[in-house]
């Protein structure tokens, strides 16, 4: 960290690049000798409480993050993990309790202050500037004169050291979500934090990328005595990557244990407060374990509910997004669209959300062609979409829950163009009850809901329209076990009710669990198809990698 008034304007990284990033701002050299093992805990929170109105986001939370450990914080959406972490980086000020950093009671006033105190965070939702390059993003917030060469070198050093390969000159907007997250991580590591908070870091990563990330983190923890808080609701990840695990439920710490003493079922139970059927337990890829009812076979029909016929689409920059994609989804089946992220999943979801027009090709619902790209055309034709990024195209955060439930068809709760507030409230209340949305009421602003509940609002709205086709894009991304179970059940029920369900997911487990038929997307086209019963994981993997034509 450059001290104010230091004569040299060069960023600190260039000075330390040979030794790799040092840990600690003032006495970094000590730490290389593992002396940190005797240090007081990196961060300790005592009795932290934060209330929003009647709801306690955190309720007397006690937690200790030690140096040299990866500490998992596990909990459902809305359990208070995010609030706790926001308190640690100074975004939220607690109502009660205190934070002790390196043995010293401290008040964290804002993220800059947190960084100075050695706490860095990698957020789940990126805060990068898409129009800028990687190194420019990393240098944002730097003071005094920029030295692009030094920053690029520094990025190179960091990426080699932690195994986070990235091209410093790439424009961030063109990168995949996984790479954009790397930019965030590098931004954080560059400040040489002693405590790093990772909020759902793998929700956008492929399994391979996650593994690399965790290897890098493990190195930072063991060599440099970093303390890492891994906020997650993925059990596998917690089990695989952490040393300790703290489980939160409804703002309280309900369990605290060594990871080596934990198992998935126990963690899930503690997190949800009841036993859950884990997907991993059902994961056996053979059809015998699954009841035939759950996997309806393809019904014979003249028309597919959804017919996508050799669609081509290009991005604004001329990149080919969809390249002759053909896809049919029939009534009552769940088609899983597998593929590595960035192969056309998003454009396809955009297309079916009326957000994109085509260069050529057609989309039909029940045989009727639809005007692609015209506002609301897909929704009107009976295509409901649970979008990948609900904040982007799924809901309006500034509006109330009730308003969000009737975005697409306000005329349902209006008479002659005038909204009937009572009717709206009444119907919203029924939906809130039916989909078990936890909120203060129909008039609560959407932003006041937790991520999982926002997702339920989206689901409720999309299902309330009695769709012909339901497109679920990464529907469980960022959700916890209980919410995943719920969402999965909803998709099954939709299919059982005759809806054609298209499940776009980069999580193979999810597809294997739900889909009756799998298609593989690669480079904007469908490269293969197989039924669930005849699934061949190896071939699937090859197809996803673009290896099988």
């Amino acid at each position: 960290m450059v001290e104010p008034g230091t004569a040299s304007g060069a960023p600190s990284g260039s000075a330390t690049s040979n030794a790799g990033p040092t840990v600690g701002s003032t006495e970094g050299s000590i730490l290389t000798t593992n002396q940190w093992r005797d240090d007081p805990p990196a961060v300790e929170v005592v009795g932290i409480t934060k209330r929003y109105g009647q709801v306690s986001a955190c309720d007397s939370v006690d937690l200790v993050f030690h140096r040299g450990q990866i500490h998992g914080v596990l909990g459902e959406n809305g359990a208070g993990k995010s609030t706790l972490m926001k308190i640690l980086i100074g975004l939220v000020v607690p109502d009660a309790g205190q934070v002790i950093i390196d043995g010293k009671p401290s008040v964290i006033t804002d993220p800059i202050d947190a960084a100075e105190k050695g706490i860095g965070m990698v957020h789940q939702h990126f805060s990068v500037v898409n129009a800028l390059t990687v190194w420019e993003n990393v240098a944002l917030g730097d003071q005094m004169r920029l030295n692009p060469e030094a920053i690029r070198d520094e990025i190179g050093d960091l990426s080699r050291h932690y195994g986070l390969d990235i091209e410093p000159n790439a424009v961030v907007g063109t990168l995949t979500a996984g790479l954009r997250q790397r930019v965030e991580i590098i931004k954080c590591l560059r400040r040489s934090p002693r405590t790093v908070i990772l909020d759902e870091p793998t929700s956008v990563l492929s399994p391979g990328e996650s593994e690399i990330l965790f290897e890098g983190l493990r190195r930072a923890v063991e060599d440099e005595g970093m303390a890492i808080a891994l906020v997650s609701h993925k059990l596998d990840e917690i089990l695989g990557a952490t040393d300790l695990v703290t489980i939160m439920r409804r703002g309280k710490v309900v369990a605290h244990q060594k990871t080596s003493d934990s198992d998935a079922a126990g963690l899930a139970r503690a997190m949800v407060g009841r036993p859950v059927a884990l997907r991993s337990e059902r994961e056996v890829p053979s059809s015998e374990t699954d009841s035939p009812k759950r996997r309806p076979t393809k019904p014979k029909q003249e028309h597919a509910s959804l017919e996508i016929d050799s669609v081509h689409a290009n991005g604004d920059d001329g990149r080919v997004l969809l390249d002759g994609l053909d896809l049919k989804v029939y009534r009552g089946e769940i088609v899983g669209l597998a593929g590595v992220e960035g192969n056309g999943q998003r454009p396809l979801a955009d297309l079916l959300s009326s957000l994109m027009s085509l260069a050529s090709g057609s989309v039909r619902v029940d045989g009727k062609p639809i005007a692609c790209g015209r506002a609301g055309a897909m929704a009107k034709a009976g295509i409901s979409v649970i979008p990948e990024d609900r904040h982007d195209s799924g809901c309006v955060l500034e509006m109330s829950v009730a308003e969000n439930l009737f975005l697409a068809d306000p005329n349902l709760v209006a008479r002659r163009g005038i909204l009937d507030h009572r009717k709206m409230t009444y119907r919203a209340e029924r939906l809130i009850e039916r989909f078990a949305i936890s909120c203060e009421g129909p008039d609560a602003p959407m932003w006041s809901l937790s991520g999982g509940n926002q997702q339920r609002v989206v689901l409720a709205r999309e299902m309330a329209h009695h769709p012909r086709v339901l497109v679920a894009a990464q529907p469980t991304r960022g959700l916890d076990v209980g919410a995943i179970e719920y969402m999965s059940e909803q998709l099954r029920q939709a299919a059982a009710a005759g809806v054609a369900v298209l499940l776009i997911s980069t999580e193979l487990d999810e597809i294997l669990d739900l889909a009756s038929r799998l298609v593989v997307l690669s480079k904007g086209r469908i490269v293969g198809e197989m039924s669930r019963e005849a699934v061949d994981i190896e071939r699937l993997g090859l197809m996803m990698g673009g290896a099988v034509p």
């Binding site: 409480t49 109502d95 009660a96 008040v107 609301g376 309006v396 697409a408 005038i418």
Partner: protein, 387 residues
């Protein structure tokens, strides 16, 4: 403030009481802050007056006399407030749709020009009250149409060519002023016939008596009936934005364009409509200025818009996109305007009211930011005390 919530567990009733007390404290703080902020603005204004050799007390009482206290003055103030309010209502509409229109001054002028053209051509010799009223309605509609068309040009540039509407609306103010100036030079457009005007004056014909807005007198205060129209429109706009389906869709577009597109809100259609409507309100303001009698002599002159468009924009800004608040703010700003007429006697330049107005705008914009900072600092201090 002691930390109520962080102390030992207290029972529910006590918590309620604490929360209620907290609410009162917060409300008191808000009121105090606004009052303080306005007082500081007034103090600075007074200081400025003193520095330029005037007496703050005289200026203040002159402003008050000129805007409200003296006989007939609040009627004038109402008359000035009406077009400001209309401009503000239009601004609220485009802001809700997520569009920034800052060219109301030009839209207003074009509206006034359209109104003048229609009013003088159709109503030249009109005498009957029914016929006159019909012409009046037509000229007001023409004013709205003129403003709408002018704003729609910026809208079209925005939606079909990607030109930022902030720039285009602003720059088109200058074009509007010059276009109207041109119209006032040509007798086939707006220029009055040579007889009945002194040679060099570039003014339009006066509106015939029958096509002017009726003025009513209440307690010795005279104002045009269009004041009531403006207030009625404030109610309509509030209702339309919050309770109708198109208003709902407009807000959706403003807050999340992608979600709106998915839900069937065509951004071009709704955006154009919002832009045109916004311009229509400004144009209508121009129309009622022309036919209302508070701004000049029922005729169009160069510089006719006298910054009412800019002031209306400020009204919307201060009112935070709330039509009900805009009614009050418009009256306040209009009072500064009419009050300034009485400043001559105090020997202070009447443009000082412009400075006062700007200071007031700042004074009303600052408290929310201060509130936020204070709340945060309080929470921080509370946690510092716990250490």
């Amino acid at each position: 403030m002691t930390d109520v919530l962080g102390s030992d567990p207290i029972d529910g009733a006590a918590k309620e009481v604490a929360a209620a007390r907290g609410r009162h404290l917060v409300l008191g703080e808000i009121v105090t802050l606004y009052a303080l902020s306005v007082l500081v603005a007034l103090f600075l204004s007074g200081l400025l007056v003193s520095l330029t050799g005037g007496s703050a007390r005289d200026v203040f009482s002159a402003l008050l006399d000129g805007s409200i206290l003296r006989p007939g003055r609040w009627g004038l103030t109402l008359g000035s407030a009406a077009p400001m309010l209309l401009v503000a209502l239009g601004t609220i509409i485009n802001s809700k749709a997520g569009l920034v229109n800052i060219g109301q001054e030009g839209q207003l002028l074009i509206g006034a020009a359209f109104a003048a053209f229609v009013g003088t051509r159709l109503g030249g010799e009109t005498t009957g009250s029914v016929a006159g009223f019909a012409v009046l309605l037509t000229l007001l509609l023409a004013g709205g149409l003129g403003g709408a068309l002018w704003a729609a040009i910026a809208g079209a540039l925005r939606f079909w060519r990607g030109v930022p509407e902030v720039l285009s609306t602003l720059l088109m103010v200058t074009i509007a002023a010059n276009a109207v100036g041109y119209g006032l030079k040509k007798d086939w457009l707006l220029l009055a016939p040579a007889e009945g005007r002194s040679n060099r004056n570039q003014v339009s014909e006066q509106l015939a008596d029958a096509v002017r807005v009726k003025r009513i007198t209440v307690f010795g205060n005279e104002f045009p009936l269009t004041v009531l129209l403006a207030i009625a429109l404030a109610v309509v706009v509030t209702f339309a934005l919050s309770r109708t389906v198109p208003g709902f869709r407009l807000r959706m577009l403003g807050q999340n364009a992608k979600t709106a597109q998915r839900a069937g809100v065509d951004s071009t259609r709704y955006g154009m409509a919002a832009m045109a409507l916004s311009g229509a309100f400004a144009g209508l303001a121009g129309g009622i200025m022309l036919a209302g009698g508070d701004f000049g002599n029922y005729q169009l002159v160069p510089g006719f818009s006298v910054s009412i468009g800019w002031t209306g924009l400020l009204v919307a800004l201060v009112a935070r996109e709330k039509a009900s608040a805009a009614v009050l703010v418009a009256f306040l700003f209009a009072a500064l305007r009419t009050g300034s007429g009485f400043l001559a006697a105090t020997g202070v330049e009447r443009k000082i009211t412009g400075v006062v107005q700007a200071l007031l705008v700042l004074a009303l914009l600052i408290p929310p930011a201060v509130l936020y900072i204070r709340q945060r600092r309080r929470a921080l201090n509370a946690s510092k005390e716990r250490i």
